[in-house]
Symmetry: C2
Subunit: 502 residues, 2 copies
Amino acid sequence: MGYDRFVAESGRVNDVLNAVNLLTWDARTQMPAGGTASRGQQIATLTSLARGIVTGPAMRDALAAAWDEVAAEPEDSRRRRAVAAMQEGLAALDRIPEPLLHEAALLKTEAQAAWVAARARSDFPAFRPYLERSFALQRRVADALGWAEHPYDALVAQYEPGMTLGRLHPLFAALRSRLVPLIARAQARPAPRRDFLERDYPVDRQKAFARTLTELVGFDYGRGRLDEAVHPFEISFTRGDVRITSRYRPNFLPAGLFAALHEAGHGLYEQGIDPELGRSVLATDIVNLYAVGGASFGLHESQSRLLENRVGRSRRFWELHFPLLRDAFPQQLADVSAEEFWRAVNLVRPGLIRVEADELTYDLHIMLRVELEAAVIAGDLTVADLPAAWAGRMRDDLGLEVPDDARGVLQDIHWSTGYVGSFPTYTLGNVMASQLFAVAERDPAVAGGLETGDYAPLRNWLNQAVHRHGRSRLPDEILRAATGGGLDPAPYLAYLEAKHGG
Amino acid sequence: MGYDRFVAESGRVNDVLNAVNLLTWDARTQMPAGGTASRGQQIATLTSLARGIVTGPAMRDALAAAWDEVAAEPEDSRRRRAVAAMQEGLAALDRIPEPLLHEAALLKTEAQAAWVAARARSDFPAFRPYLERSFALQRRVADALGWAEHPYDALVAQYEPGMTLGRLHPLFAALRSRLVPLIARAQARPAPRRDFLERDYPVDRQKAFARTLTELVGFDYGRGRLDEAVHPFEISFTRGDVRITSRYRPNFLPAGLFAALHEAGHGLYEQGIDPELGRSVLATDIVNLYAVGGASFGLHESQSRLLENRVGRSRRFWELHFPLLRDAFPQQLADVSAEEFWRAVNLVRPGLIRVEADELTYDLHIMLRVELEAAVIAGDLTVADLPAAWAGRMRDDLGLEVPDDARGVLQDIHWSTGYVGSFPTYTLGNVMASQLFAVAERDPAVAGGLETGDYAPLRNWLNQAVHRHGRSRLPDEILRAATGGGLDPAPYLAYLEAKHGG
């Protein structure tokens, strides 16, 4: 009885947060400009209603009764996991006072608008007061949530349960020590030809090819859509309705294509979650009040990076599928071979912009951000000193001078929206993607499929190892069960070495 | 203070119901098939949350305090109207017990599925038990809401405040006595040529033309969209985000074109409502728990019928704009004149299907339904006898034999979804459209605009008379203020006589 009531209340939370997801998706893909003013309010109202259900007396009562029913079940029973997930989420929400959440929501809107304006004029001083308030507020969130070693730990754990700065430091050190010489060697090699990437690629045909490619890797359009968005993203409303987006540049082919593959990786995760978890707390991130089926931000990113890079930037992938691409763009690619295309989309060259970074330099962009944001949260670095610290790290890490703040400290949206602590999950995703891929490709069916262009065996392997579990297991548990060990950069570094070591 | 709290609570209701509208719009225009199962649950949860806010202690308390603040204001002050609207809505919700609502929601899903299946096989007996339950349940709703003269009055008033069967009967009698001879005369005339309407009209170009046409009449795409849907509809999420739909048949040109104009009429109404009413109870139908800005179903329909028929089926409209249509379809319309097109889309011929009916026969379809549904609700007719009664009325009114129930009693979705009492609003819309149009076209600016193809003066007139008021006035008040009188079929009959009296 108590468990049933708990399930019913959890279902209501999931319904409301899936409606929020639809409001968000629509705002980014369909909504006319006139809808902007009201949409934020609608999302705020629904999010607050979801919080109200989680923290309300009916949930607390159901939760207590449900715990009595499931406490004797094995530690990994889904029923027990569900109750525990809600208890933990509720405890986190209880630790953050409502006024602090309200302040964060208001600041998010203000700071994001200030960031857009400041970035357009490359005017850090205009954004600085908002960023100071944003970091100060996130520090209060960290203190409210509670932490032992470092205040940053409380923030990063919102996105990656169990992750701490103490665990990130050695991981980052191991990556850095190998990436820096690899980058130097890659840079010393002459660049392959890239001229053909910037020809005239009609967006309609890019869209059609993105659809072909995402179908090829198994994204199910009976349970999903692909639309256009300024900043590509994936979002789901149930296991049966998972939507991905891409954005297309008329004179740069790879952008839309790899964004579509990346988001399809997220999409396969959401489509692959056991349907019985649908509408449950195990398809709901209670701490962030966000309906999502994947176990963590990092594990989610592992699925997108795996598809984008381990599959989509592999030589074999383009040996197999470049003819399809040339069918879509016969004039533009008439003088290009599969090998040339593959080399062009794998060029390593340090750049200023994270979202345009290649496989080798990407994680250095992440480490820079993580170390700076952790220092600000701890009070070891002031916001005023951020631009100089940023420029120094870019010089040291990538040998680049930052010409202006728009191409430096102002380039990412994350800090303005309060997403402090989420950057590590990008690198964690890269690392976990290669750990999982290394095991998967030892499976003969998976390896055979990659060789012939049949991605069903890989998808099935990922489904068994990762997707189906949804949030019923912690990311560490999923990783250990799949690979036999914990977080380990070795497979990722081995892959990068083999591909880019030259 | 009380009023402010009332405004805040009302805003929350409006936000939730606008999210429901988005869930609905998405389900009908964008959602992949896999989303169906969860979407109904999401809508049910949000609707129930909206009801919970309206009937909750915070609202009751705020409402009582707000009434004390506004009671001394003039009877037509917007603040006072807002409080009164919520009081009335709450009273109606309080009269319908939650279990009855819940039963209605469950039956709606079941009965709609049964209707779809039964219509496909033209199998009335399969649908009969659902229809019996549906009518029995609506009778309980009527009794719960309360009525004086006839139980049907309680149902129709949900859609048209102040309307009763007693007011409808003389209106219908007046219409019928003139329509029947008009139809006979129109039928006696030879049909104009219609062959060209059924040529090959590529859907993409139909869509582009529908956009052109709706822009021409002033639908604002900065605050709206036009999409495709199986059953065209209009829906809004705020004054700044109003969405219309149409459906296009590749071999029948008028369907998509007039549906787009019809929905644009609804859209202009929603876009034209005073923005200060946005997010208020005066943009929310509390009784039906539906976010809508227009004053009633009937007045809404008056705006769509006015644009579709009084403007869009006028001779002058096609004299002016047929060249645009021929530009869109040069081959298909090479041998057609504006006059021929206008005649073709105004042909009067009795038919079995309401949604395909011409201007003269349409209201007879409505009266048939209203009289039958009122008789069933009163217990004067059994559901078992409906098909025969339907066939008898079709024979008497339109001289047609009903060959099967799919083209008879099973053709409309309304009864399966519990919309008993909404049919009258179609005819009320026709009548009010002509009352308003008769006054509007006496304005020289409006008349001049209709002559030259500038619809801004008409739009402005409608905005002043109707749109801007939203739900801050009753439909009767709006009609009286605009026309100097109450509901009156004379202008409508005069128009039909002049156009079709021949």
